[in-house]
């Protein structure tokens, strides 16, 4: 994949990014306020649930895992492509990732924050959450480290910490640039945030090395995190969950959904901030090509699951998949297949993957499809497992919809605040590309 030729000067890059940090117009704050209102709705729903009880959600026997867990997996998945772009493509020295790296990493950090809230929301008695921490106590009770839920607690906490550190360390040179171009209180704030970065050779020298190790450690981490998330399901003896394909299947799905979210965020960002010169159509086209690839892996996984159910000869496994495809939630299954595997194939046509409305439209459909994938997997299997008299249906309640709305608003709220107040393009990396310096050298 060719790197977009950048015939820009350092001043151009600084000017473009610093212009985005000027005072925001009233309509920006109106948008922020609207998102804050959405967060308030979600927060109130959660508070209501804490006071009344977990029963205000639709989760009940046999479907004890509903939208809270669906949204958890959805947001963790979104996070993954940010790390793919910042760490894995850094190791592959794919220069086209430079213009979108910062925004994608930001997406990762905020998506993990949002995801991390859902296990709390899902807890009936959230004030007992410290039971998950290995803290010494009188009764000598410890968490069960054999449980995949404990793996998950550790993996997600590690992922959040690592993503934040990776994002922040990478941002130091850009924070210094903002510091040096500002005055007054803003300068003071950025002096603290940039930790005294001067761009001296000693700093760059160790920064480059540390960044390489960051990328090398974040790469196995990101693969392990969604594998661990998948084991929350795969380690349970539930038809449709208990398979070895789950880890790679989830990782591919996570990156698929995350890349779609990157395009969903980049299209308005480049338009509003006039980043078209940096986040070029070539960059978006490369993401679209990667989406074809991840879409095909996901399609292969869907096919393999059905094949394994048939080939196993296990009547319960076969019934689970028959019901998944044609039963009560059959429509969701077909939404998932269409949006995640068939629609992205349109990116094979150059005319489509270079058209902004098509890119945005298809990526929105992939986002929707991936949400439904989690619904089909999580709800579909427990609603219809071994014992017919225990079968049942599940539908989210208004409280759950409220929390879900709150989570989307929280994500966009954080993202919108970030891009207007912090450098949303990796300036130093773009400058490095502009000098012809290879990425990651």
């Amino acid at each position: 994949m060719a790197e977009a030729p950048l015939t820009t000067t350092f001043e151009d890059i600084d000017r473009t990014v610093l212009n985005t940090l000027g005072p925001a117009p009233a309509r920006y704050w109106a948008g922020v306020l609207l998102l804050a209102a959405g967060i308030a709705v979600g927060g109130l729903c959660w508070i209501y649930q804490i006071f009344v009880g977990i029963g205000v959600g639709g989760q009940n026997n046999p479907v004890a895992w509903g939208t809270y867990l669906i949204n958890f997996v959805f947001w963790v998945g979104i996070a993954h492509s940010g790390t793919l772009i910042s760490a894995i493509l850094h190791l592959f020295r794919a220069g086209w990732r430079n213009p979108i790296a910062r925004a994608a990493e930001t997406m990762t950090v905020f998506a993990v924050c949002v995801a991390g809230l859902f296990p709390f929301v899902h807890l009936g008695r959230v004030w007992m959450v410290y039971y998950m921490l290995p803290v010494p106590n009188q009764r000598d009770l410890w968490p069960n480290f054999q449980s995949p839920l404990m793996f998950d607690v550790i993996a997600i906490s590690a992922y959040l910490t690592v993503s934040v550190l990776f994002w922040y360390t990478g941002m130091l040179p850009d924070l210094a640039t903002v510091r040096d171009h500002s005055t007054g209180r803003k300068q003071k704030i950025f002096t603290v945030l940039s930790l005294g970065w001067t761009g001296s050779q000693r700093q760059w020298f160790h920064h480059g090395r540390a960044y390489l190790f960051f990328a090398s450690l974040a790469t196995p981490l990101v693969i392990s995190v969604h594998s661990v998330v998948s084991w929350d399901f795969a380690l349970g003896v539930v038809p449709g969950w208990h398979t070895t394909i789950f880890a790679p299947y989830f990782v591919a799905g996570a990156i698929h959904s995350g890349l779609a979210m990157v395009i969903t965020l980049m299209v308005p960002l480049r338009k509003l901030f006039r980043y078209e010169r940096y986040i070029t159509l070539d960059v978006l086209e490369n993401i679209a090509k990667t989406i074809i690839f991840t879409g095909l892996i996901v399609a292969f996984a869907y096919g393999t699951e059905v094949f394994m159910a048939w080939y196993s000869g296990n009547p319960i496994e076969m019934e689970t998949f028959r019901w998944r495809i044609t039963g009560h939630y059959g429509l969701f299954f077909w939404i998932m297949v269409t949006c995640n595997t068939l629609v992205p194939l349109l990116f094979f046509f150059k005319r489509i993957r270079t058209s902004i409305p098509w890119l945005l439209g298809i990526c929105l459909l992939v986002n929707i499809g991936m949400w439904f994938e989690r619904f089909v997997i999580i709800v579909g299997s427990v609603a219809h497992d071994f014992i017919p008299h225990a079968w049942g249906h599940y539908a989210p309640t208004l409280v759950e919809y409220g929390v879900m709305l709150g989570s989307f608003c929280l994500f966009f709220f954080l993202f919108v605040l970030f891009v207007k107040h912090m450098p949303s393009l990796a300036m130093a990396e773009l400058k490095h590309s502009a000098t012809g310096g290879g990425h990651g050298d």
Binding site: A158, L195, R202, R209, A428, T435
Partner: protein
Amino acid sequence: MGTKKIVLGLFDSEEKTVSAIRALKYSPWKVEDVFSPVPGNGLAEALGMGKSRVGYFTLAGGILGFLTGFFLAAWTAGQWNIIISGKPVISLIPFFIVGFELTILFGVGANVLGFLIFAGLPRLKLPDYYDPRCSGAFFGVAASCGEEDQERLTSFLKKRGADIRIMD
């Protein structure tokens, strides 16, 4: 020699900066620091920097993380000594996963620590001879000399294309 003076030469390209550093090496003056808006391989080479030792921190952190994760899980499991889900009390595979996650977490933590220590960060006061243009488009070479030599050093840097700032 009188009081030490620092002259900061600002260059608009990496090539000019590298040639100035090389030339300074064969001069009586000393390069105090070199600032740049982008990482430069040429600069590190010209300054004769070897290999960063941040990696030792990362490695130590990773090893410590693995041991912490694995033995935390094993030790806590040993407290009650109960067989759960038919798995042995000390289950190697699940505990390996805990160890793995903490390898990465501690490795990254130590990596950041190593970077901060080696890079001399954080600090709130920038060196007096730092010029804010160095985080924008310019490369800065700070060289020191005695007071009497200041003009010679200034013209030396100017000849190589620099814009000049002088600091005490």
